[in-house]
């Protein structure tokens, strides 16, 4: 057992416990946010210090490599930004601020562990740690919408966990192991003769696992929870759900499928599953998003569509595709977080998430409006934003793997998506303002808005900074 390898998670749990305990004695609750954010620097520092490590510990259950560290860094960063942008929002549930920050940190720990385990039972438990914290966080507002969202998320989440476990049970039943590398050995002897169809149990297990993970990344046909949960949840938690939970879901998919089922005989089969699911996800997400009037719901459908785009990278089974997924997730996290933080800032003042209430927002708050518009443009994928680079890279990977049909669908979808994103931009800039009151923004909000928008711009011009990291991260997989 090498506890040095576990240091980011251990320190994160320590901070979460410290927040819970200090909550008892500290009267000024804002201090808790400060402790959480500055505390996150410790696990981030450990993660950076571990970079380059290539080791497994706890009998292969903890795998620390550049791939897991990339995701740990991403998730920790997202978590820090979400906590910073919650500072004003938490006055809605003033009594439970300590628990709020602690649950975000616990959920972060679960997501980080998801990215760095090489064993099915650990993956499942880490996923549950992340999910159960999120179930509570989603219903934190305790109003009818938030409670409904929490209940829906929990029931559907429990069903998806059951499906995932059944899939793992089938895979365990046919391979006799829960360790991904041992599964890989067994799978290569099982299907050495030919097709995946020769072993129905393995195929069925894989399909069920795709279903279970599909819930986490909000892909069709497991997307039905997204709009209601996104609308009802506290907005910072919606942001956290849409980027951190999705990133960890894709990390698990990449690790499980490339490590355990990575042999060539079957990778084309599950690649095709992802290609079809991705095409349906992006089409459904984009088409339904057009009809939305609530911006959180709209971004919910947009996140379904983005799950579809990212699955293009999964379907292209190549190094380019894998690193494309990592880069896309980083870029998507920045742009989506930026948009959500702007929405938080605006709704803190107006108390509304309806798109029609954003009318003329550019005159009430030029900076926040500009950042929101900029992030939405990045979500469409227009240069000079990171969204363009991410899509370019991932579509390029797909073309090199002869998935032209998928890329055509994806590009058409990007065009459709421009309609509803630009509609928001139009309302902000051309509509008549509903009042003359400016939108105030606190220093934490400004900091997080600045980080995300600069990130979107810089990665849009110099994508190599993160692309190189993503390329070294995916070397782990053959």
């Amino acid at each position: 057992m090498n506890f040095w390898l576990l240091s980011p998670e251990l320190s994160l749990c320590g901070i979460a416990l410290a927040v819970v305990l200090l909550d008892l004695v500290i009267e000024q609750k804002k201090v808790l946010a400060v402790i959480s954010v500055f505390g996150l620097i410790i696990p981030i520092a450990f993660t950076i210090a571990l970079w380059g490590e290539q080791q497994a510990s706890f009998s292969g259950m903890l795998v620390v490599d550049n791939f897991s560290l990339f995701f740990k860094f991403l998730i920790l960063g997202i978590s820090a930004l979400v906590i910073i942008s919650s500072v004003d929002y938490v006055k809605k549930f003033a009594r439970f601020q300590g628990e709020y920050y602690a649950l975000i940190l616990f959920s972060t720990g679960g997501l980080m562990l998801m990215c760095s385990t090489g064993e099915l039972i650990s993956i499942y438990i880490a996923l549950e740690l992340a999910s159960i914290s999120l179930y509570a966080l989603v219903s934190f507002l305790k109003d009818p919408k938030s409670s409904e969202a929490g209940l829906k998320y929990m029931i559907l989440g429990a069903i998806s966990s059951a499906v995932l476990l059944l899939g793992m049970a089938f895979v365990f039943g046919i391979t006799g192991s829960t360790h991904l590398d041992q599964i890989a050995d067994k799978v290569s002897t099982l299907v050495s003769g030919g097709q995946l169809w020769d072993s129905p149990a393995l195929l069925f297990g894989i399909v069920l696992m795709v279903a279970g993970f599909g819930f986490k990344i909000a892909s069709v046909p497991f997307q039905m929870w997204v709009p209601d949960v996104y609308e009802g949840a506290p907005t910072p938690i919606t942001a956290f759900l849409s980027v951190a939970s999705k990133a960890a879901g894709f990390a698990v998919i990449l690790r499980v499928f490339y490590t355990a089922f990575g042999i060539e005989a079957i990778s084309a089969d599950w690649g095709m599953i992802f290609a079809v699911l991705g095409a349906i996800s992006m089409t459904l997400g984009n088409v339904v998003a057009i009809a939305q009037t609530n911006i959180k719901r709209m971004l919910g459908y947009s996140s379904i569509a983005h799950a579809g785009y990212i699955m293009v990278g999964l379907a292209a089974i190549s190094t380019l595709g894998k690193s494309g997924v990592l880069f896309f997730l980083a870029g998507y996290a920045l742009a989506n977080l930026g948009a959500f933080i702007a929405i938080i800032a605006i709704s803190n003042k107006t108390g509304s998430d309806e798109i029609s209430d954003y009318s003329g927002m550019s005159r009430r708050s030029p900076v926040i409006s500009f950042i929101l518009a900029f992030c939405l443009i990045s979500l469409i994928g227009i240069p000079p934003t990171v969204g363009f680079m991410a899509k370019f890279y991932i579509f390029n990977a797909a073309i090199q793997q002869d998935l032209l049909w998928l890329v055509i669908i994806a590009v058409l979808n990007s065009t459709i998506s421009a309609y509803y994103y630009l509609r928001v931009v139009k309302v902000i800039y051309i509509g008549e303002p509903l009042s003359d009151e400016p939108i105030p923004s606190s220093i934490p909000m400004r900091v997080s808005l600045a980080i995300t928008s600069i990130g979107v711009l810089v990665l849009g011009i110099y994508p190599w900074i993160v692309l190189r990291l993503a390329e070294t991260a995916v070397v782990t997989f053959p």
Binding site: F106, G150, K186
Partner: protein
Amino acid sequence: MTELAFWVIAIVLVSSALAVVLLRNVFRAALLLIVCFFGVAALYITLNADFLAAAQVLIYAGAIGILLLFAIMLTRDLHSGNPFHRLHLPALVLSLLLLATIIGVVIGTDWTTISEVPQVVEMPLDEPTTSYIAIALFDQDNGFVLPFEIASVLLLAALIGAVVLVRREGKD
């Protein structure tokens, strides 16, 4: 003998599980769920898994079963039973399709191909399993220590979440 026991348990188990889903009276459904839990415990006994069987009775049939009954007794509108909805037929069709798929997969797979995979701990068939389970969980070299520890954090997070959701906003 074991085979006969298996079929008896299987019939009790499947019929009680079906009744849980199909009965409209929630209270009866909960009682039959406890029967179902006992059935699973009996199944564990036929598989020589003594510790699991005891844990199943204590935790599921005991703790969870009683908790479930309490929750139902404290709920209003019990008499109306499960709410009616229009999706009965599609749900039935989907469930039957899933059942057919699972049965097809289980029958269609050649399960004998599972060869020797290194086990965490070699376990003789006729001994009590408790200590072997402990070794499998906590062994220094190849035990399941990490998931066990994550589970403890998971319980803490669930506890905190439950406290937040149950308590009211405002002064107490």
